[in-house]
Each structure stands twice: as structure tokens, then as C-alpha cells.
């Protein structure tokens, strides 16, 4: 499975503005990621926060990824076709 990325600005009510939408092979939106700003603790800042996902199974909560590639691999393993 491959994904298309679209970088967007997201209004989270604060400085976490840098966002990325992931689309699947069918050009369908499957995830909204936001890069955490330095208002968060160093262990979180700079990572990609999984805000919302669609059509994904076996997960709970909002995982964090060190980069978008890691998020895509995680998505590929859980995507419901």
C-alpha cells in the first residue's frame, strides 16, 4: 500500500499548525497527522501526532511517530481495505 501526502495547516488552537493528510491508493483520506511544536515536552516535540484516522483497525488512542514514513508503515499494517 502506498500513500499520497498533502501538507496543510491545521487549527489546533495553538502552535501545532504543521499538518499532513494521508490519502490511500484510491485517493481517499485515511489520516490526519500534526507535527507537535515545542510547546510540548521534549519527548513529544517534533514528532507526528496521529490526530484522526479513517478505516483503521486494532488501535486505540493517538500514537506518535518520529516521521511520516513511520506513520505510513503503521497505517499500512492496520488499514481496512
Amino acid at each position: 500500500m502506498s500513500f499520497t501526502q498533502q501538507f496543510v495547516r491545521v487549527n489546533t488552537g495553538g502552535p501545532d499548525e504543521e499538518g499532513c493528510l494521508l490519502f490511500d491508493n484510491d485517493d481517499t483520506l485515511v489520516a490526519v497527522l500534526v507535527r507537535l511544536s515545542d510547546q510540548h515536552d521534549p519527548e513529544y516535540a517534533g514528532k507526528w501526532f496521529f490526530e484522526h484516522g479513517f478505516g483503521i483497525r486494532n488501535y486505540h488512542g493517538h500514537p506518535l511517530f518520529k516521521d511520516i514514513n513511520e506513520a505510513e508503515n503503521w497505517m499500512a499494517s492496520r488499514k481496512v481495505k
Partner: protein
């Protein structure tokens, strides 16, 4: 866990204040509380007091500090189900429900007074009205759980945090631990998230936004409510479920 000095009068007074905030007490009942034998121990932040599955033979009265009830889920996820202030017995139910169906732990260094179940039973036999008051206290616990269920199921993340900070203000006020709309509530953002079903990222964003909106400043050193009516309005906070009888307002 280490043994510590016996409880001071002001520490025992927290329980009396707590019970008097939800009902009336006679002079004899108060005297019996001041005389209750208890073994005092000091626990560090993050220590378990009693674990799910255990069968304690004593109840734990919080003298100082902060305590929570929680359950652990697979993969280490945790749900905190309640916070407890000085004056609370977070495991009073163990008097009648023999096996703990959840765990109880400190969220700050705490002094705890352990009172034998046999003594609690004798106290309730001697003072049936005190027994009724303790029963009332556990019913109010259940009312708080109902309110939290509404929050986790139906309120927005902003509302959940606003509601919690209002609730704790009135509960700390009942035991004389607020000052000018301020109180000590030394929980981490992760612990707040575990109580409200939110991630630490969301808690961080929302606390910043509540501060920016001049509603409340909350960090590990304490909570300072800047706009009580505004915070109450945001959280849809109606204190009726706390059943406090003394008309407390911070």
C-alpha cells in the same frame, strides 16, 4: 512506605470537615473520630496503597497529599477513576466488598492513616448516625462516578478539564485546603489525561488555551482559578451532585 508520627489534630480535622460538609455530626461522634486509633505511614508519589484483587483488613484515611483510584488495562493503559483529597477514605468500600476491584495509589507524597476494619465496625455500631454519614459519603462517591461517566462519554475535552478543576476546587474547599481560588493539585498532564480519557498532547493544548482565555492556570504547582463563573459555564458544572450541605463556594 514508612511509619510516621501520629496524626495531628488538624489532620484528623480534615475528616471531620469533610463529613460536616455533607451532613451533621454530634460532639460525641467528632470525639470518636479524634480518638480513632490509626497507624500512620508516609508514602512517596506514585506508590500503591492497595491493589486490585487484594483483601485489605483496614481502611485508609488520607491525612495529607493526593490519592487516586485506578485500573490498569493491557499494554499498560491506565484509567484513573477518581481523585481523593485529605479527609477522604478512598477504600472505605473494602469494609463491605472484601476483594478490591481496582487499585488505589498516591499521586503525591502522602501521609495516610490506616484504621482497622474491626474498629470501623465498632465505631459504626456505637454511632449509627456516623455510619449513615459514611454511607452517604459512599453514595456521593457514586454520584461523582456518574458525573465523570457523563463527562468522558459526552463532554468535550475542554469541558472535561474545566469540570474537573471546578469539582476539585469545591472538594478541596470542603476540607479547608483552598486559598483565594487556589489549591494544590500536583498531578501531571499524563495523569489528568488518564482520568479524563485524553492524551497528554490534548491536555497540554487545552490547559494552554484555558490559560490564554484567562479562565484558569493549572500546572504541577497548583490550580489558580481566574474566572470561576466562566470556568463553571464552560464545564457545564452544576455542583448539586457533590451534595455539599454548607453552600461552599471558592
Amino acid at each position: 512506605m514508612r511509619s510516621a508520627a501520629p496524626p495531628s489534630r488538624s489532620e484528623r480535622d480534615r475528616l471531620v470537615r469533610k463529613l460536616e460538609s455533607i451532613g451533621d455530626m454530634s460532639a460525641d461522634e467528632k470525639a470518636a473520630i479524634y480518638e480513632s486509633p490509626m497507624q500512620v505511614r508516609t508514602l512517596a508519589d506514585g506508590e500503591d496503597i492497595v491493589l486490585e484483587g487484594e483483601r485489605p483488613n483496614q481502611c485508609c484515611l488520607i491525612l495529607t497529599g493526593l490519592v487516586c483510584r485506578y485500573k490498569l488495562l493491557p499494554e499498560g493503559r491506565r484509567q484513573i477513576m477518581s481523585f481523593h483529597t485529605p479527609g477522604d477514605f478512598p477504600d472505605l468500600q473494602s469494609l463491605h466488598l472484601k476483594t478490591m476491584d481496582h487499585s488505589v495509589a498516591t499521586l503525591a507524597e502522602s501521609r495516610l492513616g490506616f484504621i482497622e476494619h474491626t474498629y470501623m465496625r465498632e465505631l459504626i455500631r456505637r454511632f449509627p448516625d456516623l455510619g449513615s454519614l459514611l454511607w452517604r459519603d459512599t453514595l456521593i462517591d457514586a454520584a461523582i462516578f456518574r458525573e465523570w461517566m457523563v463527562g468522558i462519554g459526552r463532554r468535550s475535552a475542554h469541558q472535561r478539564i474545566a469540570h474537573l478543576l471546578c469539582e476539585m476546587a469545591l472538594r478541596f474547599e470542603a476540607v479547608g485546603l483552598t486559598h483565594d481560588h487556589n489549591y494544590q493539585f500536583p498531578i501531571t498532564q499524563a495523569e489528568m489525561g488518564d482520568a479524563l480519557g485524553l492524551t497528554v498532547v490534548h491536555v497540554n493544548r487545552i490547559l494552554r488555551s484555558l490559560r490564554k482565555e484567562q479562565l484558569v492556570i493549572s500546572n504541577r504547582t497548583g490550580v489558580r482559578i481566574l474566572d470561576w463563573e466562566g470556568l463553571k459555564g464552560l464545564g457545564e458544572f452544576d455542583p448539586m451532585y457533590l451534595h455539599q450541605t454548607k453552600g461552599i463556594s471558592p
